[in-house]
């Protein structure tokens, strides 16, 4: 037993030496495995990230969340939007007043602007919202206060800063009570929102300023219509009901005849999360296909190189057999060589996969989660590819006739 282990060790060393003698070729052989394993790692990382991001979406929007956009959906499902919104603050008021299943309503307009505070300035997005905003998004102020309904009514020049904006404009703190200038209009800072972090698309949600929608419409964007209305149903199980109530109210207000297309559309939190999971799923499938194809090509590459190697080393095989190597010693030697190629390729692939995941996280902004499971999985797959595709050449080597092999030129 001990002898067999000793011999096995010796034979594995023989295989290792053969690989290190031919470094470039060995590397090229591994390439398919490297890419394949890299893809598996990235796929699983992105897949886990997708799941996590959907969870984040649900958590950050709340299960009651409904988004109301301007623009029609035709019978065929295509979304038409002419660019002219027809959602008004009055629509929002009507929804709040007439829909019992609706708890909060927040008319929303958006603008992008450079914000100046003293010497410092910062480019960010301005959201015009109502006082329901913190309730809908469950987003409280950390310092100071949120603006009031009175501020909305009187188009007061007040705002609440996101944590990132506050940090950049007031690095030493003490933002509350200060004046920031947005498009040259001075706004008093009422408060700073608590930190929320990146959203599902990786954007920094704290890089924003919220102000009364009335003020933003009048002073900053000059728009008279809303970009969106954010709504919260009274309870998670009332989301469907709220959507039908809203639809009825708006169709009546917009005078849409029965059977006509609505000039607005709604999406619940669940639908938003689903769309997102879908687009990530598509990418995941694509990567899985690449992974599969690469592993296959990698395996064939290993088989090809091993076959070449067996032919090239026919004489070596003959010599080994003449001095006492059994068929299975030769088989093990070549199999070990193939598996080592695959596993080293797998190792490089794991590193590549982790690096790729990092790049995806950085540029696409998805949360990426690399797990030990996925590393173990790809390792196992790589080893199996090595055994599967290395077996045929190794067996071919082990069945050579020593006399013919010795005579081989």
């Amino acid at each position: 037993m001990k002898n067999s282990i000793q011999r096995l060790g010796n034979i594995t060393i023989v295989g290792l030496k053969a690989i290190s003698r031919n470094k470039l070729r060995s590397f090229l052989t591994m390439l398919g495995i490297v890419i394949g394993v890299g893809c598996v790692i990235a796929v699983v990382a992105i897949g886990n990230g997708a799941t996590k991001s959907v969870e984040n979406t649900i958590n950050s929007l709340g299960t009651n969340y409904i988004m109301l956009f301007p623009g029609a959906v035709t019978q065929s499902g295509a979304r038409l939007f002419t660019g002219n919104s027809n959602l008004t603050p009055e629509d929002a008021d009507a929804i709040k007043a007439e829909c019992p299943a609706v708890a909060y309503v927040c008319p929303t307009v958006r603008a992008a602007a450079q914000v100046v505070a003293g010497e410092l300035n910062w480019g960010t997005s301005i959201q015009g919202v109502s006082t329901d905003y913190p309730l809908i998004r469950s987003w409280n102020v950390d310092q100071g206060d949120f603006f009031t309904d009175q501020d909305v009514k009187s188009t007061a020049k007040v705002c609440v800063l996101g944590a990132t904006v506050a940090e950049n404009l007031f690095p030493n703190g003490g933002a509350v009570g200060q004046i920031v200038r947005i498009k040259n209009v001075p706004f008093k800072v009422d408060g700073v929102l608590e930190r929320k972090g990146g959203n599902m698309m990786g954007q920094d949600q704290d890089d924003t300023i919220v102000a009364p929608y009335s003020t933003v419409m009048k002073r900053l964007s000059g728009k008279t219509k809303l970009d969106m209305i954010q709504i919260s149903a009274a309870a998670p199980n009332l989301v469907q009901e709220a959507q039908s109530e809203i639809e009825a109210v708006l169709r009546q207000r917009h005078r849409i005849p029965p059977g006509g297309d609505s000039d607005f559309q709604m999406r619940s939190q669940e639908e938003i999360a689903q769309t997102q999971a879908q687009s990530m799923g598509t990418l995941k499938n694509l990567l899985l296909i690449i992974a599969g194809v690469s592993l296959l090509i990698g395996g064939i590459g290993i088989m090809n190189i091993m076959l070449v190697s067996v032919t090239e080393r026919t004489r070596e095989i003959g010599i080994r057999m003449a001095i006492g190597a059994k068929g299975r010693h030769i088989l093990l030697q070549f199999l070990f060589e193939a598996v080592t190629l695959a596993i080293v390729g797998g190792l490089i692939g794991v590193a590549l996969g982790i690096a790729t995941s990092g790049v995806v996280r950085h540029f696409a902004g998805w949360p990426i989660v690399v797990t030990v499971d996925s590393i173990a999985l790809s390792f196992g797959v790589a080893a199996c590819v090595g055994i599967f595709f290395g077996f045929y050449p190794a067996r071919k080597a082990s069945r050579l006739d020593p006399i013919d092999a010795l005579r081989y030129e």
Partner: protein, 262 residues
């Protein structure tokens, strides 16, 4: 009476080439005792290599019996023959057949990798080093075959053949690729090893080389035509090995008495 190493009876080897039967060996009888130095001679195609392949357990006879060192090896399986080759036979080839890009020491160690006895790395190194010393290559352990002359490469091959302390050394045209001076050197080593008790079977078609042996067997058309003892054998000029008479084999070989199981 000295013990028998090779006992061959009515050995026949037939190659079937489609319709045609080639009788490469056609009823060979051959007895070789321990300590003999036998040269097999004959024209090209007479069956020398075929005989050597069977004697070396690389091939099986079509019929006839072959007892090597007390074991009937004529009907063994592939794996069983591999074990026999490893334990009882040391091959020396015309074209040296060393592994390229592998040091002299590692080449010599090679048979020990496949041995039934569990050699530790250290034991392997020591055995290989002693074997290299025995053929006068002490100090060349780390040279690659490409860094050695033809004669030196053949000496490494002889060291490799010796390392398991086999029952016979089998050399097929060992001087075929060497000039006459180097050939003499190699024959000197064979004579030296034979004097130390090693049984040697040498295949050659050069009469000069055959004259170094103690006995010559002439083969023709697959049969033994003549079997002669040489009264005044030729002594290799500049008997290099004599100067190394004191070199000893590394202890009693653990391979002694290895038989075939199964």
């Amino acid at each position: 009476m000295p013990p028998r190493v090779i006992e061959i009876n009515q050995l026949v080897k037939i190659y079937q080439m489609g319709e045609v039967e080639v009788r490469a060996l056609d009823g060979v009888d051959l007895l070789v005792d321990v300590g003999e130095f036998l040269a097999v001679m004959g024209p090209s195609g007479s069956g020398k290599s075929t005989l050597m392949n069977i004697v070396g357990c690389l091939d099986r006879p079509t019929s006839g019996s072959y007892i090597l060192d007390g074991v009937d090896v004529s009907k063994l399986s592939r794996d069983e023959r591999a074990v026999i080759r490893n334990a009882k036979i040391g091959f020396v080839f015309q074209s040296f057949n060393l592994l390229a890009r592998t040091s002299a020491l590692e080449n010599v160690e090679l048979p020990l990798l496949y041995g039934e006895f569990g050699w530790t790395t250290e034991l392997r190194h020591n055995a290989a080093r002693a074997s290299l010393q025995r053929v006068g290559l002490g100090g060349r352990e780390d040279h690659y075959p490409s860094q050695l002359s033809g004669g030196q490469q053949q000496r490494v091959a002889i060291a490799r053949a010796l390392v398991t302390n086999p029952a016979i050394l089998l050399a097929d045209e060992p001087t075929g690729n060497l000039d006459s001076r180097t050939s003499e050197e190699i024959m000197g080593i064979f004579q030296q090893l034979n004097e130390e008790g090693k049984t040697i079977v040498l295949i050659t078609h050069e009469p000069d080389i055959a004259q170094h042996a103690k006995r010559i067997v002439h083969v023709r058309d697959g049969r033994i035509q003549k079997d002669e003892r040489i009264e005044q054998r030729r002594v290799a000029i500049g008997r290099w090995a004599v100067r190394h008479r004191s070199a000893t084999h590394p202890g009693p070989s653990p391979l002694c008495g290895v038989g075939v199981t199964g």
